[in-house]
Symmetry: D3
Subunit: 227 residues, 6 copies
Amino acid sequence: MPTIYVINPNSTEAVTETIDQAIEPLRSSDGPGIECLTLAEGPPGIQTQRDVDGVVEPLLRRAAALENHAAAFVIACFSDPGLHSLREQSARPVFGIAECGVLTALSMGHRFGVIAILPVSIRRHLRYYGAMGVTGRLAAELAINVNVVDLANQDLTRSRMIDCGRALRDAHGADVIVMGCAGMTKYRPVLEDELGIPVVEPTQAAVTMAVGRVRLGGTACSFGAVE
Amino acid sequence: MPTIYVINPNSTEAVTETIDQAIEPLRSSDGPGIECLTLAEGPPGIQTQRDVDGVVEPLLRRAAALENHAAAFVIACFSDPGLHSLREQSARPVFGIAECGVLTALSMGHRFGVIAILPVSIRRHLRYYGAMGVTGRLAAELAINVNVVDLANQDLTRSRMIDCGRALRDAHGADVIVMGCAGMTKYRPVLEDELGIPVVEPTQAAVTMAVGRVRLGGTACSFGAVE
Amino acid sequence: MPTIYVINPNSTEAVTETIDQAIEPLRSSDGPGIECLTLAEGPPGIQTQRDVDGVVEPLLRRAAALENHAAAFVIACFSDPGLHSLREQSARPVFGIAECGVLTALSMGHRFGVIAILPVSIRRHLRYYGAMGVTGRLAAELAINVNVVDLANQDLTRSRMIDCGRALRDAHGADVIVMGCAGMTKYRPVLEDELGIPVVEPTQAAVTMAVGRVRLGGTACSFGAVE
Amino acid sequence: MPTIYVINPNSTEAVTETIDQAIEPLRSSDGPGIECLTLAEGPPGIQTQRDVDGVVEPLLRRAAALENHAAAFVIACFSDPGLHSLREQSARPVFGIAECGVLTALSMGHRFGVIAILPVSIRRHLRYYGAMGVTGRLAAELAINVNVVDLANQDLTRSRMIDCGRALRDAHGADVIVMGCAGMTKYRPVLEDELGIPVVEPTQAAVTMAVGRVRLGGTACSFGAVE
Amino acid sequence: MPTIYVINPNSTEAVTETIDQAIEPLRSSDGPGIECLTLAEGPPGIQTQRDVDGVVEPLLRRAAALENHAAAFVIACFSDPGLHSLREQSARPVFGIAECGVLTALSMGHRFGVIAILPVSIRRHLRYYGAMGVTGRLAAELAINVNVVDLANQDLTRSRMIDCGRALRDAHGADVIVMGCAGMTKYRPVLEDELGIPVVEPTQAAVTMAVGRVRLGGTACSFGAVE
Amino acid sequence: MPTIYVINPNSTEAVTETIDQAIEPLRSSDGPGIECLTLAEGPPGIQTQRDVDGVVEPLLRRAAALENHAAAFVIACFSDPGLHSLREQSARPVFGIAECGVLTALSMGHRFGVIAILPVSIRRHLRYYGAMGVTGRLAAELAINVNVVDLANQDLTRSRMIDCGRALRDAHGADVIVMGCAGMTKYRPVLEDELGIPVVEPTQAAVTMAVGRVRLGGTACSFGAVE
């Protein structure tokens, strides 16, 4: 039975498990299967542009091996590594969580703010919003600036996320927040409670769109077609 | 059990039936119910800005009566009449098919083209894409220019749609098409076959996003909150 | 003799009287008559999107009754309710005070700031500037956040307006201010004095353009034409 | 009595006379005087950027001599030569016909087309629309490509204008036309008749706004203030 | 002595030789050395997004080995593969020929047109112009649609390039052309002769900027810094 | 031997000398000569729009006298006075330091900040970035607000520049700085040291591009061509 493969391109299993829990409500008994995978060849976390570029080849190989059983692919990293390469390679619809997270946010508020993990990612994301043509809807992106080790400190992480969310809402006018990373689902409820505005967990946004696309069928996408 | 109400704001039952068939694949046994309704007070078709403005009040009344049973609302007209008014009134998430159709298209091609029914709608839609901040991704919008009576002539309608789709693809560079109306689902497969690029049926796009939102829960949206 | 009808779509006569005084300098003995009317069916103030949508029908009826004597219509509410519907209905030129206020400001400064009454209106206005395609010239919009009852407290209202104007000028770089409401004309001089930059009262801006259009004649507009 | 001075910065008296006729309907017995002047030092026509830059100094001198009697200035050339220099020099409001023509068009249609005289002017105008931040509303600008001598051939000029107008409307989607030059008022009615969409004569647009500004008083503008 | 390394990320030596000839006029006896290299690990030509992503790792390795002798790096492929990854890795300034080619064109004409080799590259390039924030200056991009084998047929290639250039100039309003690939320098003079507008060879543009940056010294760039 | 003429359009010889030192590293024994000239007819400093407009005629005369010996022209004032007029007049490539400074910055950071001398110049520059179509990449422009006399006070000037640079980087998100004036080269190193991000001296940026263009030959530009 065709399955939506959600590929976490970093090698941290705990992140994959979090994603798996995040998208659990989107599974249904009569719908497509949804399987979350870890890319063993990826780095523990994707922080730099080099990390982004570096996971494309193993991700494509992994996806190629899954192609025959795949209904769709979701790339579960907020830099959408390999999104357009996989769209070229695969005959299935392919979703990036940054693209889907931002598009979903545009239906929930007028100006979206993004919470990143590290400052170094912000410029990369800004280029991406420019490529998407949605910069005019961006309030701002701020980073919690917590390194991989300290991310496990939930008090610190939660507290920084709330601080960023407040700054995005109050100083930058954001009325919807996008979590600029995968694996942070557990903070979504507390953020919504503290901020009083919607918070988009991008893996959930992407899997939502993937489930619909698979159920509806049709031409996958135009991005990758080699004319 | 909470239900997603898809409200067709025109009074033509046949359109509602078409919508109902269009979103059938999105129903699941363990998911939210999806019910398609006709707004009896609406005009037979929504063509002018006055038609758009005129259905807001009856649509709000209808939605108010459904609020307690509603999991979400979908407004099934490509001008998204009353979208922000209903977001103010309701505590549930509210989706417009134009907004969702365009956002979904942005994940399937780089430049979206829109097929409208009548030329008079194009300027209204252009204002809307401007309000959405996505004009930079628009290839063009063209109208099949078939009046309500002749829409029943399927050969004419299909042929005009294919002509518009080809012009959008070849002369304007569109690589994904959005059907700029509800009730045209039956032409989606033939359009994809003829054009070779994806075609978004906007009711399907909106219900997809609604199902996900309902399954995931959380804060509805920021648009309507009265501070 | 043909008359420019300035319709205040809220039911507060005092607002209409203020508008009437605001546009008094634009009357001339040999020019078109200018008559200010109150829409009795409107709410006391237009605050929400629902208020905006709700006044369209009575406004259209009122305008229809005036059509034969009308030289032009001005809709005197900063959300321009029914602007495009009335353009469809009427053979006369139709002006919205938000549209005219912003366009006029663009000839007086490089970045316009807007002073709104309530925060809830800001997102609605932002969508409108987007539809107008002028978001790139917007410095910011801030709300004085005074409710209808307290608006009568002139000291409070004036003080909040000056505070907003200063923040728009100093923190957001605005060099021209648009009053984001009708009926606030009396504060225009004190704002210009305190801020040292021009302040646009939007009813004055719209009636200015209406008087010119009526004197010059010609095709009314393209927005409403039903092809 | 304070007068609005409309300065034609080219030296061709016939153009000034045409402007004078164009704005005649905007004069009123109890309003500001409106006087149209020819800048003797200007070239017969303003075609190149050098022509534009070259008339600034004589135009500023002429305006300085008029300052004490001036209520406002209108610069009657579609390249708005010296607009911001004169705003610096004068304590009166200053209007450029390109700026006012385009802003006025934005209230009459969604996408404006411009008819230029010579192709060489188009790039200059495109830079100007960019500086105004309204490029997103531009349909296109086309030139009739008639030299100064042949402009007197009214059949040729009219015919080329109609051709350009049709191309702007049909191929580029313009629903309002701006005449990209002064002194062409006589063709406005025939253009509106042939095209069925509004045509803005920019001198009329600018004088309309000037009359209103003078009648209403207040701070002139922010553009020129030397902090 | 520090050297500017121009890395051709495809494995076709003939392309590298062409680049070497293209930038010969930029060498000077007292300036930095300029050395053109072929990335042996690259594909014969870079056509798809996968080709782009796939050359990043070998390109980074090659650059790392050259770092100590490098004054700057130029990535000589119009998709700028690995541009931001190399900016992270290297302490030297890094230039992409697409970025530099487009920026240079913006100083030579108002609307730039791009001639691509294959249609599949156009969407990738459009995303890139969006990321650069310069879409508003783009006239259009057209492809000669000649495959790698037939590129050696100089008559065909030249003829197709001239056709594309004419269409960009006449139908899309381009007044400067960017060659959307490396290794086509030989066609630059004939294109300029036939079109009468400037043609930017992007390798030349990038090496020009690299020579200046090396001569002037200073902080390399902000893109890659890991905070 | 053909020479690149760098014309300082203000009459202050000390500024010209600073420019001459700034571009010294760009001279090479086998490259084009680079000569820096002072426009005696210019004002001591170019501050207002009138200053900008006023130097065009003498600048064009000076350039005309140099045409036969010129390889290219660089206009060394951050308002690029007469840029397009000189492009019309001359058959040589013409560079403006604002245009080249900003374009160069776009290859060094994602959001550029500009340090102006006086607040009055900021609006003029904003119009220019709009005309260039790069407003979306602008972080902000701030002025050191030091008058011509006090500019000689190096401690004050340096300290204000560092303050502006820090505000641009920290409050506005700039990751590359453009010096919004000529003659400030001496502060570039200290700014880079203090800020840790690249600083573009615009005269250096323009001469870099001029040297490359002269060495490479080809069609000068499209801006000035009179069709």
